[in-house]
Symmetry: C2
Subunit: 310 residues, 2 copies
């Protein structure tokens, strides 16, 4: 009866106009999960950020139950939550993916990446009210991903120069609530604008073209709505532009804001600090993160995409 | 007082979900325009397909007036319409671009590609009721293009293997009418589906990945609406799938249908003939075209993109 240690990083979904399709794997913060085989059932303990601890109410537990019961096995999960829940940084996806990856590798399940993505997206649905796969895909595959019809994942290796900065102000945004605030129908001009933006973004990532990534971050659909929940968002935008980053947008459904930058004009750390100062000056508590794109979930130090097939 | 001969090819806009953003330059059919310098004013004659012949009512005349009057010069246009008007194959864009390219080169105007695109898009607006730049951009730049915010053009060199087949059934679709038939608001699930499709398409074009291009042709927005004007569209789709092509969609606002294929399983000619047979069997007149992606407008045998800058 073995055990494995899994590290599943934060992710940023949407990246502007790529609503429900784009995801970027970050290299930090991360959930750390130790999965241990036991006789039967699913047991779990959680430390770090508070999340539900019963296997039924926790995405990691939900995924473990699905996979382990199917295999007639039992597992014990020791989850150390490093990705803040309710932040827009893919907290539930990190836990779901950590569990899926750990259980699959520990039990030697004959599953591919796409099946694990399906289970994780389903678990995300339990957590947020609507199944979506953008964060989970980024966490599973690493790098920059686009999730299309039928959960097909296009993975793109981000440019070498890409850095990111995140500011997470102390304000609670419920994913369900933020999702409900979006209109059920998209005005045609906003639709066309979004099509152009996502094409520029993916082409920019593929070509390593800074100007295309800058254009790709423009969004007239979700960002204007979701940024209403984020204090001083306009000042954050101004700070990012002044710092020389490529752009800033709401990460997932927020309240984290993610700025991308190219490392030459300004670093991820610099843009994160510039955003953090907006909140310090306003007396709003916040946390800052920065780094490079990440390679996705790792089991015992190896990328899952190098362990499993397709 | 010199003269230049310009060849401006047909183009196919949208290519599935890329509504108002994607354009593909074809290598045929084409408008041929001879532009000659005269003392003053704009004169024109048209042969081939019937279109308005007064400079005020013709897109080529409109563009020539804008550019030549600005330069204090006069031009005479001899337009041979080879792109059928009202077909969905970028007929007005071909004429507008031919005129813009010819007048700019003949008069040695200090203009770039983007300025010419702006004038052509404006002329398209006069012709169709709404300025749009997708066909004109494909015709000007050649290859596969995406037009984003502020008419930024992303040009992608299509894969070597890409071939196309077109069937043009004898049924008149007015661009204005087809445009009005589209809903003013896009359901959120259709919006997200379109985002995924356009990303797959541009990535497929950039990587030369057949499977991504196949996914990229799927569209739930404009195609279902516009195909209502096209007789036996479902049979056309079936014929294309049976022929082994990557997919088929309405070209622009139709009624031409364009299928893309990879040349290995079936050629552009084969898929065009398969679509043509659907109409022959049904007793509907149609024309078929096939070929490869084209390099865009040529002035005196040279690609405009090699003559002008940016």
């Amino acid at each position: 009866m073995g055990r494995v240690r899994v590290v599943a990083p934060a992710t940023s979904a949407n990246l502007g106009a790529g609503f429900d399709v784009f995801g970027l794997a970050l290299d930090r913060p991360a959930d750390v999960l130790v999965v241990e085989e036991i006789e039967a059932g699913v047991e779990m303990v959680v430390e770090g950020f508070p999340v539900p601890e019963t296997p039924e109410a926790n995405v990691a537990g939900y995924v473990a139950k699905r996979l382990a019961e199917n295999a007639g096995a039992g597992v014990r999960l020791e989850l150390r939550k490093g990705v803040p829940p309710g932040s827009g940084l893919g907290s539930s996806a990190a836990s779901a993916v950590a569990s899926a990856a750990g259980v699959a590798v520990l039990l030697g399940l004959e599953v591919g990446m796409r099946e694990l993505l399906g289970v994780c997206a389903e678990a995300e649905g339990v957590a947020s009210g609507a199944p979506h796969a953008d964060n989970a895909a980024a966490c599973l595959y690493g790098g920059f991903v686009c999730v299309g019809e039928g959960m097909r994942v296009l993975r793109v290796e981000p440019p070498e120069w890409l850095e990111w900065g995140v500011v997470l102000p102390e304000v609670r945004v419920e994913t369900r609530e933020a999702r409900r605030a979006l209109p059920e129908r998209v005005p045609l001009d906003v639709h066309v604008h979004s099509l152009g933006s996502v094409v520029m973004m993916v082409a920019g990532m593929m070509r390593g073209d800074r100007e295309l990534v800058r254009l790709g971050m423009r969004d007239r659909f979700a960002t204007p709505v979701r940024s209403r929940w984020i204090p001083r968002f306009e000042e954050v935008v101004r700070a990012v532009v002044e710092a020389g980053a490529l752009g800033v947008t709401v990460s997932g459904s927020g309240p984290a804001c993610i700025a991308l930058c190219s490392g030459d004009v300004c670093s991820g750390e610099e843009v994160a600090e510039a955003m953090g100062e907006v909140y310090s000056e306003a007396g709003v508590e916040c946390r800052c993160f920065w780094g490079k794109p990440g390679g996705g979930v790792e089991v015992e130090g190896r990328r899952l995409s190098n362990i499993l097939k397709g």
